[in-house]
Symmetry: C2
Subunit: 330 residues, 2 copies
């Protein structure tokens, strides 16, 4: 009698094929592509180096703290000699996606932006020349610039190029919402999904769309109802000199917005719930219920992505000829 | 004719057995043993968290920057509201080896020390109660303290315990000089070796000895000749109230001294070369030649060890109930 043939071995269940969502006004963040790792490493050191400031105390990371979502979580920044800044510090995370830099877009890109704070009396309080003199006095920096730029001397152009290259790596992929966009339906909760649906149906995506959910246009703060603030910033019109641009600000990214409190250019909203309430009212003329507000907030928190992951950089020591920091006195 | 037997396969050369140096007044740094990794991770976050300060801007790492040898490389520190500190900030690297903390030894250990700066009006400008209230309002901290301490509430004792546990990991093994001590004769140069010999024969090791080359006694600044300074610090006598202790300071470690410029409690020496010159004169009544000075400096630079290596910590976000930082105003 012939043996019964062995039961077929069950194939391991195929990994479910994810069906990416289509037709959404929001797209997932891609992991950064690093073209020149040595340049990025140099820029990272510069970003963390307080010797780019007059005091020797303030670095880019002081106000764009990468342990805290790339901002300082203060209403307005603390600059050289504790000077109170005029405006809330935006995150550097995903800032490479912005159509321009600063709330009013006055710098066209990250490289142009990076020169600003070093020489700003209320931020790092230094000059480009002095910053370059400091770097040029530090042998390990001279070597590193030489390796990266094939040039013997450091200049501010190379400094800002390297900082910008580092900043371009500061993108935050893998937010739970992005996993959902890529087809993993379990990645967000029912409340978060309801929040997203409301975010779209209410009209938030008119301004907060694309990969960064913002960063790609200047919009009036107070499109429907005026926004009340004591902050004197006039917005985009300061750049264009066009009165029609008064009180237009670059729409901020909502990526990692959970981490970048307080909100708005004047930090007028301490909490995300307050920011959503204000946006509904003054941009769309809508008043959300408590539950609606909570759902939108929940959705916004699903936008927190992987934070930049790297070792604390080690800065090369000054040499005997490095100009001394001047924290006090004039 | 019989084939000649194959030549015996040469055994790989045995790794040379290193003969550790014996009878030296200096011993190598051992890698830290971490008893409780979760506690260390919590302490690391707290060390980097500016929310332990009134302003929300100053963390332990502001003045003990682990990108810069664990100090701020300023003559005197910048504290809350840019207040000028009274004394040079010592490194936190290898500070666990100190017989006591602070220049005058007024804190018996790292745990006792860590409570100081939080409540010091000129440093972090906060109170222990407010710092704890802030932490208690941050859900991820509450969870982490619970996991580490098996307790539902945070208190300052737990905060300083965790910070101290992190600081205990901040030791710097594998300096080239330590490799030499362990028997690798090629690890240091002829000049560095000559500098070490002179360091011993001149009498520096009377005070700078042991694993840390310092940190284990209080000694008169100006043992042979008085030290001239405008800094009002009276040293150890502030603690003992004994006039015989006037102008005694804790001998600082010379580990990583290349990174911890400027030197002395009053930062009176900007360079290592100047510090060595002054030490020779006022502690030993010796004037070194230019070459001798250079050799000692070279030796001191061979004491730079592996800097703590870890990922930039990510801090848990504040919640809607977290008290706001108060950088400005009273
Ligand atoms: Ca903000
Ligand atoms: Ca020092």
């Amino acid at each position: 009698e012939a043996a019964t043939p062995p039961a077929p071995v069950a194939a391991p269940p195929a990994a479910p094929v994810l069906q990416p969502k289509t037709g959404e006004p929001v797209a997932p963040v891609e992991a950064p592509k690093v073209a020149d790792q040595a340049m990025v490493e140099l820029g990272k050191k510069l970003f963390f180096d307080p010797r780019l400031s007059k005091s020797g105390f303030i670095s880019c990371n002081s106000c764009h703290n990468l342990s805290m979502g790339g901002s300082d979580n203060l209403k307005s920044s603390i600059g050289h000699k504790w000077k109170q800044g005029p405006i809330n510090s935006p995150t550097v995370l995903n800032s490479s996606m912005n159509l321009a830099q600063f709330w009013d877009g006055r710098a066209k890109d990250l490289k142009e932006q990076a020169g600003g704070p070093i020489a700003n009396p209320g931020e790092m309080g230094f000059t480009h020349d002095l910053a370059v003199t400091v770097l040029q006095s530090i042998p390990a920096y001279v070597d590193e610039f030489k390796k990266v730029f094939q040039a013997d001397t450091i200049d501010i152009d190379k400094v800002t190029t390297a900082i910008a290259a580092f900043e371009e790596t500061l993108v935050t992929p893998n937010a739970r919402f992005d996993k959902w966009l890529r087809g993993d339906d379990a990645a967000i909760t029912k409340e978060e999904l309801a929040g997203y649906e409301l975010f779209k149906s209410s009209g938030c995506t008119a301004c907060h769309n694309g990969v960064a959910l913002g960063g790609n246009s200047f919009q009036k703060m107070g499109a429907v109802e005026p926004y009340k603030t004591k902050n004197p910033a006039s917005g985009r019109s300061a750049v264009t000199k066009d009165d029609a641009d008064r009180f237009k600000f670059k729409v901020p990214t909502l990526r990692n917005v959970e981490l970048t409190y307080p909100y708005f250019h004047d930090a007028g909203a301490a909490t995300l719930s307050k920011a959503v309430e204000v946006m509904g009212q003054i941009q769309l003329g809508k008043t959300f219920t408590v539950e609606e507000n909570a759902n939108i907030v929940a959705f916004l928190k699903s936008l927190t992505g992987d934070q930049p992951k790297f070792e604390l950089p080690q800065l090369p020591p000054s040499s005997d000829t490095t100009p001394l920091p001047q924290p006090f006195g004039k």
